[in-house]
Amino acid sequence: MEHPFAITLDVGSSLANRTGSWRTSRPVYVKHLPPCNDTCPAGENIQAWLFRAEEGNYHLAWQEIMKNNPLPAIMGRACYHTCESVCNRARVDETVGIHAVERFLGDMAIANGWTVTIDKPVSGKKVLVVGSGPAGLSAAYHLTRLGHKAIIHEAAAQTGGLMRYGIPTYRLPRRVLDAEIARIEAMGVEVRLNRRVEDLGAAMAEEGADAVFLASGAQNTRLVDFPTDGSVQVRDAISLLREIEDKRAQLDIGKRVAVYGGGNVAIDAARSAIRLGAKEVIIVYRRTRATMPAHDFEVVEALEEGIELRVLRTIERIENGGLVLEERVLTDTNRSNPTGRFEYLEKVDTVVMALGQLVDNNSFLKGVPGLEFVGDGVKVDNLLRSGREGVWAGGDLIPAERNLTLAVGHGKLAARQIDAYLRGETYVHPPRGKIAKFEKLNSWYYADAPKTIQPALSLIRRQSGFEEVLGNLDESNALYEARRCMSCGNCFECDNCYGACPDNAIIKVGPGQGFEFKYDYCKGCGLCVTECPCGAIDMVPETI
């Protein structure tokens, strides 16, 4: 129809008016690094796998974990989940129970026999891995996915290293451990048990290895000298835990046990002692509870189990079937100083020494040319390269914080280095994004718990503490928990930008494909940035 001039207009004709020219700064979609990912020693992309889990796509979620960590069922139980201590959700209500979901996924994978694919064609290269602990298994797993042949030499009769010989079963059932290791072996990793490496050169030659990853751990207990009249049995924690693993419950440790130390191993030893039948277990530690290296939730659980804490004490000597303890004071700089005041802890059957572990560097390591040491550990650069070409080292063997998850991370990093080395390439670490801070989020859009749901929430939080007696999350709980992830710094396709743009300047591409800006029309108001719940849009100045 012909319309009257000027007063009557054809619909939608304003598309000819490109309002994008008004803009002085433009919004851009970004991916920032969620604090959980940032802090994960194994380099897991937690946000990414929760994104899959929350939609009920557990297999994809598990595959996402497996990109970085081959042991989710183990990690979901035994990792100290530093991710949760930095979770932004804590500022809204409570931290997301990441480990609980991870464990749920790990167990589901075991139950369903899920496997991963080998990502690259067979290279024909072989890599010798020394040690089948978390670092060694992780390296072997990643090397296999990268197309290389990994051969593990393990000195012990069983695989797993400290996961088997250090973590008590109540924290890590052996069926879980065995299942996850078996999955790695099924990928083609060869494990030679009872094979203590004596001469690295000979071992390499024997296997025809092109490179080596050393991950033989730190099994020697740090010793402290104090006088003893021999009236109390003294044991070290590592050998105790190992013996528990070998002999299970048939170990007599006495009725009243003292554990000396404040780390996680001390807690493991103390809680194991309870399980071995000790009636009283006392942890003796030279600083305060607040400064204990052990994770607080472990301490809490230990206290719940009746373990006593005797802090600001050192053992002076053993006499007459008991311990003479000296009181200590903490200085402003957190040093523990003697006071000269003493007390007596009577009727102690056993003292378990848990003051830390050392690398046994009196071993084959000594004979490796070019290998250097820092303290007891093997010296490596930030890419885990040792002084000897073709030899990488990780896990407890190197001077670093000694924990399971970090060891898994070391295995991955070493594998990627070795892969590049074997292909004559240089491995470049992908750049790390900016941290997705809470202040960048618009937390209004996340539902917070009404008071009725709060108690249930707390219960779940506790249940997800991995007491095996309490069992796994059920699916609805896991889903519930996964959906609490705020997806910090990463678009989760909530359509807020698409809805909040007053200029329709955003294209919704479709499920899984995110959004695009129509810069022809975007006026640069920044509403999308403010209303993005997860802070995945940045404003950048226009360059003219």
Partner: protein
Amino acid sequence: MLKQIEGSRAVAEAIGLCRPEVICAYPITPQTHIVEGLSELVREGVIENCEYINVESEFAALSVAIGASAAGARSYTATSSQGLLFMAEAVYNAAGLGLPIVMTLGNRAIGAPINIWNDHSDSMAMRDSGWIQLHAENNQEALDLHILAFRLAEEVSCPVMVNVDGFILTHAYERVDLPRQEQVDAFLPPYEPVQVLDLADPVSIGAMVGPDAFAEVRYLAHYKQLMALERIPVLSADFREKFGRESGGLFHSYRCDDAEVVVIALGSVNGTIKDVIDEMRSGGYKIGSISITSFRPFPLVALREVLSRARKLVVVEKNLAVGLGGILSSNIRMALRGLVQPVHTVIAGLGGRPITMKSLAEVFHKAFKNELEDTHYLDLDWNAINRELDRSRAARRSGPIAENILRDLGGIEKRA
């Protein structure tokens, strides 16, 4: 069918025959009887398929008509005087949007002082709003012009205001010939808008237009009226053919062929003027008259042709453009620009003052004797005016002129 009915009723019945679809009603004297009549006709089902809406003001009345017309409905309303001014913004808007609304204006004076009687101050206030303005000389024409108005409005997409002198026509019982429905249907096809709110062809109507196109829009509105100037005679001819009588047209000439003096006027006063002319003709005076039907568009060319043959022109008009004089006479002068004939203005009938044959005859005689002033005020009480002027000369702030004059006339008590 011949009927002896009130003018308002005749108009209402004519509107009914035009099959209006939306009627908006708000009462104001002297128009009220028209919408009352329509209300009855709609409720009785005489007018079918019609929404009759009682609104809260004249502004709303025309606004509802605007919406209805833009949505494709044949729309009608009626008003007078203050009502027209209250809807003034919408009057311009309806024309600007080119909506073929038909509105009856029961012509009436505008206050203050408030006055409910007839003159043309109201329509003149809106003369440049873009509406076509037709004036009815008698009730038959009032009736006929509405039928013509819808046809014209819808042909040129322009609203039409049919001016019917308040009381003099609206309240006068006269014999009228009401056409049959088939006759009207044959003359007036259903409304087919050139622009309409339509889901199938959505448009935005009523854009904001800036300096880049506003002048063109205004010119096009003017052009529309020029088109109407051509269409009015054609449609009137068609009307004559279908209804068998003369109605509408641009103007009616009466005994003008050899007239030396031609009297020009709008609306019902032409009846009185014709009587005076007949009298004077029998006295030998060569006098004739022009009754202008189409005031907007103003038939400049056609009038010039007729008027240029006369020696002298006397414009009798029921309005006073304060500070200027007569509006119609100014328009006539425009038609005669470049010619030498004097155009006299006779301001008459303001606020319902009777225009008598005697007074008119005196004025026309003066014209023949070359004694008529440029602007003559018919039957003005100069004593009252002069007293007021004397007083105001003595004391500047003597209160409202109207009140003082009324006091002098004895209408209200003098203050102690």
